[in-house]
Amino acid sequence: MNIKPWSPKTVIARSGATKQSTVPQTGLLRFALNDTAKLMVVACLGLASTPALAVDAPHFVDETASSGIDHKYTGGWEFYVGGGVASFDCEGKGFPSVFIAGGTSPAALYVNHSTVGGPLKFEEVKDSPLALKNVTGAYPIDIDGDGIMDLVVLRVGESVVFKGLGGCKFQRANEMWGFDGGNNWTTAFSAMWEQGQAWPTFAIGNYVDRNAPGGPFGTCEPNYLIRPQGGHFGPRVALSPSYCALSMLFTDWNHDGHPALRIANDRQYYRGGQDQLLKLEPGQPPHFYGLAEGWRKLEIWGMGIAGYDLNGRGKPAYAITSMADQKLQVLDKDADGNPSYADEALARHTTAPHPYAGGDVRPSTGWHPEFVDVNNDGYIDLFISKGNVSKMGDFANKDPSNLLLGQPDGTFKEGAMEAGLVNYDSARGAVFADFNLSGMMSLIVVNREASTKVYRNVGWGTEEHPVPMGNWLAIRAIEPGPNRNAVGGWIELRSGSRSYRRELTVGGGDASGEAGWVHFGIGEAERALVRVQWPDGTWGPFVKAIANNYVQINRDDIAPHYWLPPYADTASAGDAVK
């Protein structure tokens, strides 16, 4: 036996303290510490060798300069609001591209040329008909069900629907589809397919009537509902009352199969108004829920809406951004079928009322909320873009966006500093997407009068060596017929004893939306059962999905369809892997 000496060496005491100690030079390991007092040193066991905690933030690398996106949202009063961005795959290659509002500057479509897991690379599409001025935001939606994303572009003035032609080409379709969204200061949008309809219903949210005498206070423009008529859009119908909407979301708040329209309104300009919930029943005129039906008045500077099933009850909670306290509206347990919401922002630590960095103690101004699991730990996170309206002296000027990280106990904690997301530009719309098909959600933030920022999520790693955090699944629900992307449906994912549910919606946020893979962080789960509740209420079967994959679920198929990103073809590159 040839045992070589080894000493001293580093071991961890049972208490967790890392110690230099002498280990006997035999094959028999002995207790290495001879000082009883030292044994009582308490430290975190083994953590010396582990990276950051998953419940903490991933690292975001600012790749704005190298991303190919050079864009600003500019303009005066009309463009204090808006500043949206839409994310969707216009090339059909799987990488989400982005369309960014420009305000007085032209909007721009940037095609995603990133590689799998690599730096974020985009290229502007020149001479695109999408390059309109006075754009406030946009939402992708496959209006005609041809499998190619179309785009709804919101403007100060005429809003425009564009038919996607493939290859990131678009064609104006207002006339072809009979769309007339009015000539207003449009700041909000949502869409759904009503039961039995082959064409979507649009909600158009408008802000202040700039031409009204005595304005701008108390001069909110009417919002519109545009329902289908034949194979195209019918006339727009004004919704009354309207209270200067900044965000709209068709959402099945009570999961009864009939989405209602949640509207976040800006109390800065309305008089006697409040946030609203519009009931839309088949064959019935629209009807706003009132106090008698359990609806509680909410008067905020409502900016953006995001929904997520926080409690696993199949009924979404809504993050609604505002000035000062941000809201987190959760359906009362004893709501008894009524839309009675209580605010849990304080209890869950999502009020985010003041800047957490920069030294400005004045209240924050929140814009775009988005529920997303940025660290794939299975606990949903909440991003809130922040920024002063313009020069409002009562509110913070240095107002960085929040990345509120979901904790195992259901609360959230600020993680933007750790994530490297602190920026003092005035943020507006934003979008999280798996831009480089790495399974990690990266971020694009539109800033007012400053460059749009592009952040790549590199997990625990670095720019050169990204390291994924938890496991994930990306799910896409496809059904035949007009509502191809199952808008109004739900995706339910179950792994172990935990369930995750996401409603498939178009709308909300701060004039920003995304279409494509629906991302679920699933922590340590290695697989999950997934099912879809289709928009007509029918539940599909549970299908089996292996973690860290893109999975398409087709209606009427009992097996999932795996989708493969365009990985580098190592086999044709001289078998470099071996």
Binding site: I3, R30, T50, V55, G117, N471, S497, I546, A568
Partner: protein, 503 residues
């Protein structure tokens, strides 16, 4: 007791403890630095970063891994998970529902070696050592052995598993490479591309790659859609020794690893609620895994008696002739001899190569027992494990014995099992995933499903030829390792981690 008496007592005890090493050293007598009366089974913990940095000699890693494998964990070590279920995903339960030890749903064992004991530590186990595994996180406190609630599993011998895992990694890389290549072709050509997935002579069926990126996996066989060849577990559901070990420590011993149950994922330091907390460090796990990975590969031990020897050699030929080797592959070749830890097939919840500064690498050719291996001139190792690491349907209506389960495990159908490796079968009776078959002959004739043809061929053989096959299989043995304590210092490899994970 008065306070001064208590204080005096404490001081006296402290003096004894503090002075004892000095006195012992003065007397030049052997020193045992263990505190008197100490009942820990784990004397210290290893730091993963130190292992990676080469600060811990491989002898120490191996010996510490062996210690952990044999340790009868105590509550002082963190044994027990009264507040957590046995689920692979950390899952809470109200404490006090079941005893600290519970024969069915666990924890049901004091140590790894309590079951992996035959013929020596690291080996297999008797029927009495069977465990009951529930894939259902919400029905964890089952107190019955009914197959509606759990799957009964015998103990698998771990000898040679380092080579097994390397084999699986290379097979995975091959399959994924083929898949990626076919998809690239489909995308560039705009036409579907069907590719037969074969690695090391083993067919896993075929997939069709569509230009839109969607995969048609209807023809895929014996492996999950992620194409990761998972070599461990009777159902081929564990992708690495580490993956299995983390799970088994929690399930069987209530020893929860920090890398899965610690604050990173649960926000807690005592997720299991045992009052001590999670204590198994990543360094401990690396040692435990490397101990297992370095367990000697079983070998063919031919009988000394000429007649038996002749029969065994003849049996091998018959084994191949009747098609047993179509699944129980007699030879598979490993391209790279390096076992790296953590391995590339781990995903979150089990330490991954991306999580560490540098995976620890061992050159398997330099281990003392490697002289038994068939190492080719090009440095590649020929593995005679008698497995293809693929799942097969091995039961049917005619031979339903192996379909005696009623729950799917990790999406694997009840009648499918990984091809058992037979290179230790001569040392590991009884047989079958439930260890309920007492003879090799019975085990063979219980084969159905995809193995029907070979089984029928076996049954058609003259009895003498059947006996020859059995004699051949009996010769596949775990060899008591007389070189176990030999120097392994040369085995650590400063090898670049084999890039055997595509993307």
């Amino acid at each position: 007791m008065k306070q001064w008496q208590l204080l005096a007592g404490v001081c006296a005890l402290a003096s004894v403890v503090a002075l004892r090493p000095i006195l012992a050293e003065d007397a030049q007598a052997p020193v045992d630095p263990t505190p008197i009366g100490d009942e820990h089974a784990v004397p210290y913990h290893l730091n993963e970063a130190d292992i990676e940095a080469g600060k811990v000699p491989l002898e120490q890693i191996r010996d510490f891994g062996k210690l952990l494998f044999s340790a009868r964990f105590t509550t002082l070590d963190g044994q027990g998970r009264p507040g957590a279920t046995s689920a692979t995903i950390p899952t809470k339960r109200p404490p006090g529902q079941v005893p600290m030890f519970f024969r069915t749903s666990g924890p049901e064992a004091d140590s790894c070696a309590g079951c992996h004991a035959q013929p020596i530590a690291g080996g297999s186990g008797d029927f009495v050592a069977n465990v009951f595994v529930s894939p259902q996180e919400n029905e964890f406190d089952f107190d019955t052995v009914e197959p509606e609630l759990s799957m009964e599993r015998g103990t698998t011998a771990l000898f040679g598993t380092g080579l097994i895992e390397i084999l699986s990694r290379e097979m995975t890389a091959d399959l994924q490479r083929e898949e990626h290549h076919a998809m690239a072709q489909a995308r560039s050509s705009g036409k579907p591309v069907r590719v037969a997935l074969t690695t090391k002579g083993v067919s896993f069926g075929a997939i069709t790659c569509n230009p839109d990126g969607l995969l048609d996996i209807k023809e895929l066989q014996g492996v999950d859609p992620d194409l990761i060849v998972k070599p461990f577990g009777q159902k081929a559901v564990w992708s690495s020794l580490r993956h299995f070990t983390v799970t088994a420590l929690s399930l069987h011993h209530g020893m929860e690893a920090i890398e899965r149950f610690g604050p990173r994922w649960t926000g807690e330091t005592d997720f299991g609620g045992n009052g001590v907390g999670e204590t198994i460090t990543s360094g401990d796990l690396t040692a435990l895994v490397l101990f297992q990975a370095m367990l000697p590969a079983p070998a063919q031990v031919l009988p000394v008696d000429a007649a038996h020897r002749e029969a065994a050699l003849h049996g091998e030929k018959l084994f191949n002739q009747i098609g047993c080797d179509s699944c129980h592959r007699t030879e598979m070749v490993i391209d790279t001899p390096f076992f790296t830890e953590p391995g590339p097939q781990n995903i979150a919840g089990t330490l991954r190569p991306e999580d560490v500064a540098k995976p620890y690498a061992i050159d398997m050719r330099k281990l003392p027992w490697s002289k038994r291996l068939n190492i080719r001139a090009d440095g590649k190792i020929v593995v005679r494990a008698f497995t293809d690491l693929k799942r097969h349907r091995i039961a049917d209506a005619e031979r339903p014995h192996f379909a005696n389960e009623k729950l799917t495990q990790s999406f694997v159908p009840v009648d499918q099992f990984r091809t058992a490796w037979l290179w230790s079968i001569g040392s590991t009776a009884p047989y079958g995933h439930r260890r309920d078959i007492t003879t090799i002959h019975e085990s063979i004739v219980d084969h159905g499903g995809e193995s029907t043809e070979s089984r029928k061929a076996y049954e058609a053989l003259p009895v003498a030829d059947q006996k020859a096959i059995i004699e051949f299989l009996k010769a596949q043995q775990i060899v008591p390792d007389d070189t176990w304590q030999a120097d392994v210092a040369s085995a650590p490899a400063d090898a670049t981690q084999p890039a055997n994970k595509v993307q």
